[in-house]
Assembly symmetry: C2
Homo-oligomer: 170 residues x 2
């Protein structure tokens, strides 16, 4: 099985701070990582859920794909990221199968992971992201320290307002 875990579910939100507060208040969720991804025109907050993340995405530009999604659909699930052992090999094999892709070659995404998006036309309507995170196990047997994302130091009680060492320099 090529998909080793659900790496994250990405939600499109209009206000990142409000979305973080919503998840803190209702579920006790804490932010484990924040980052601005210029290429995708978003800033994100990651909330750890088991071996996965809940990823909150707020557009920072009107031409961001997430901004387009919000205009068309409103807030909600934008995409699903699956952990794979080797994004380059997986993407090559899927393209050989005739699958349409958004990224013809892997690129760096959130947390510095190598990622590639597949096109919803080829994935039964869902926008799928393949994520290769070398800090996480890919053998399907989670449960050890490798589950912890690189560069994150528990306890993970940072909030967006106090995070000072994140990739967006905030």
């Amino acid at each position: 099985m090529r998909l080793r875990r659900i790496d994250h579910v990405g939600y499109a939100v209009t206000d990142l701070d409000e979305a973080v507060e919503h998840h803190r208040r209702l579920y006790g969720a804490v932010v484990t990582h924040t980052e601005t991804i210029e290429r995708d025109g978003v800033r994100e907050a990651l909330l750890a859920v088991g071996e996965s993340f809940l990823q909150l995405l707020e557009p920072i530009r009107d031409d961001s794909p997430v901004a387009t999604f919000l205009r068309r659909h409103g807030p909600g699930v934008h995409h699903v990221g699956y952990g794979v052992a080797d994004v380059t090999a997986t993407l090559r094999d899927l393209r050989a199968e005739g699958i349409r892709v958004v990224d013809e070659v892997p690129r760096h995404g959130s947390r510095g992971c190598l990622v590639a998006f597949l096109h919803p036309k080829s994935t039964m309507g869902a926008l799928i992201e393949l994520v290769e995170d070398p800090s996480r196990p890919t053998d399907g047997i989670p449960g050890d320290a490798r589950l912890r994302p690189r560069g994150l130091t528990p306890p993970l009680h940072r909030t967006l307002g106090t995070a000072s060492r994140d990739a967006d320099g905030g």
Copy 2:
């Protein structure tokens, strides 16, 4: 943190057999469970992905919520299910916070788990299902035999066509 893991991502599909074959061909995914959930008007196939499931949902009636979703949006992500330790307590607390719910009291869903859906109007646009599965760990430290859904016997190489002991009697 009340959400202990992503239990599943639920995809609305028009043809379950085709969707299963798609995931087998592209990712090597195997079906670990099939079930017809009369109350929800769907038949489902679960594909294990790490500590989570990819849930494929095909409507069996025109008045199924998944059928309505397909007419409005086409195939794609229908909802996200999160594992919680106690659905009854979580639902009670969320309702006390003013969260709109679909299920006022927990009910039995896929795999016999106690479940409850929250209303997208109160969850930033996403349809969220709370799932209590006593066979799965709720302490956030996965990795042992309890991860295996109840009643499933590995190796999990059954396919929809050969599953004979499933809840739909197929």
